[in-house]
Symmetry: C2
């Protein structure tokens, strides 16, 4: 029976009513999928991921510091002025990794996303879709790239040139990918925090209030703890290990020449890694109710 022209439902043409129903149903399905995926995403699992990633970042810096700065790796004049060796190296290596399926995992974001090949080599695998789709595309790779090459690199490498440009570029890529994975994991951190207490975040999200969100996401004491732990990791992992029975990896020892200055690891986290992760968290949350 056609709805009466006098009822409120008559304000809805039929196709809109149908579309609305599909929308509600699809949102319901999405929420179910999100709920299922989120069983694996907790504040504890997020903290474990970030803590383990600290080791990866410190290892990657120590491995890059095996080689001196090696400036020809970064000088476009060797390749007719357009691109540096490291940029071509990163583009081509990421293309190989894309074919092998690296960017099927939503934790991974390429530095140069244009014209990446399809993941034709990757055996099928269904990664859990944990992120809120409208917020998932937050991307600060350009900032990470600039920070790494313009600010960080010269702080923890020695001056000089040993000709190992390919090994240098490969080590740079490992550092960049580790930093990017950690910083963009801010999306997962924000999702876990939001799910834990949506009522705390909803007003600031609705008001699109970045400062209020940043305040909610900031814990200075927790950040200080992370910075001190990363510094300690640089001390423990970057020391020369000997079989001296008294040398048990004591990070308070003054005898050791560390392979990467531990205070640089501390400042890397304080000045860039933690602020950029929080920037990603804020940008993610701003779209969490879209």
């Amino acid at each position: 029976m056609a709805s009466s022209p006098t009822t409120p439902s008559s304000m809805f043409p039929r196709f809109l009513s149908f579309a609305y129903g599909v929308l509600i149903f699809s949102s319901f399905c999405h929420c179910r999928r999100l709920q299922d995926s989120l069983k694996g995403l907790t504040l504890d699992s997020v903290r474990d991921f970030l803590t383990r990633e600290e080791d990866t970042i410190v290892f990657s810096l120590i491995e890059r510091a095996k080689y001196p700065y090696n400036s020809p790796t970064y000088d476009p004049s060797y390749l007719h002025g357009k691109f540096s060796l490291v940029e071509i190296f990163v583009r081509e290596t990421q293309a190989v990794q894309a074919k092998a399926g690296r960017y099927q995992n939503p934790e991974e974001i390429p530095f140069f996303p244009n014209n990446l090949p399809l993941s034709t080599l990757a055996p099928p695998y269904k990664f859990p879709q944990v992120l809120y789709p409208a917020a998932a595309s937050v991307n600060v790779t350009k900032t990470i790239w600039t920070m790494y090459f313009n600010d960080l690199l010269s702080l923890f490498t020695t001056r000089g040139n040993d000709g190992n440009y390919a090994l240098t570029a490969a080590s740079d890529l490992v550092c960049l990918q580790a930093l990017s994975r950690r910083i963009h994991y801010g999306r997962f951190v924000a999702e876990a925090k939001y799910r834990d207490a949506p009522q705390d975040y909803n007003p600031a999200i609705r008001a699109q209030d970045k400062d209020a969100l940043m305040k909610l996401l900031t814990s200075e004491s927790q950040e200080e703890l992370v910075k001190r732990r990363v510094k300690k990791k640089a001390m423990v992992f970057g020391q020369d290990i000997t079989l001296d029975e008294n040398d048990t990896g004591d990070s308070n020892s003054n005898r050791t020449n560390y392979k990467v200055d531990p205070s640089i690891a501390y400042h890397l986290y304080g000045d860039w890694v933690i602020p950029l992760t929080k920037l990603v968290e804020v940008e993610y949350l701003l779209h969490r109710l879209d």
Copy 2:
């Protein structure tokens, strides 16, 4: 003036005499170059390289152990049965690295040397030619590849599949390259040892006596020291670092779950890395007087 038919030099036709002169001159030049290069190659510098490479190998194992075994990475049936993902990944990544000049450095040897592109991206650099040319081509990459995938990998990874096949293959490649660099550095070790005391090695080389060379190159006490140090590195680098003041990275602590079982690092060195390095040393020395 033509030499008299009665002098011994008449036994030498002129062109042979000339060729012999060129040969002596060229050998003299080669020796000079070798001597110059060898100023940087000492028993101490070789020992430092090997010790630092232990850190790289332990880091690489810990990083691979982040991911479970991930069997589809190694199963050719996903790619029509000929190659596994990891083999294609290694071939294509090494091609990118070859273009960037990785294999210009004589310390680096590719796993798949056929059809590698030229180093068209690499800024020019003249690596010191330290190795004796007739002996430099010793290559055990096939043995390392088989050992890594057939014997080692399942010992230090957990069972399971998390879909990170590209990250898995990239981590495998870092492990393989670190192991290969260490093992093939046996050529430099042998050169340094030979230069330090050629008279000790010449009789066994002339007799092509592998057993005698192996005996000359073996120091069980030194090998035990290396194995114990690598085990300690796996303990120190693979522990969970906390800010507990009493936790100073003490490798004697029983509280830690190490990311790679330290006894596996010990046996990796004892069963494969040290024996294969010595095999490379012996094969190198067998050609040291060619």
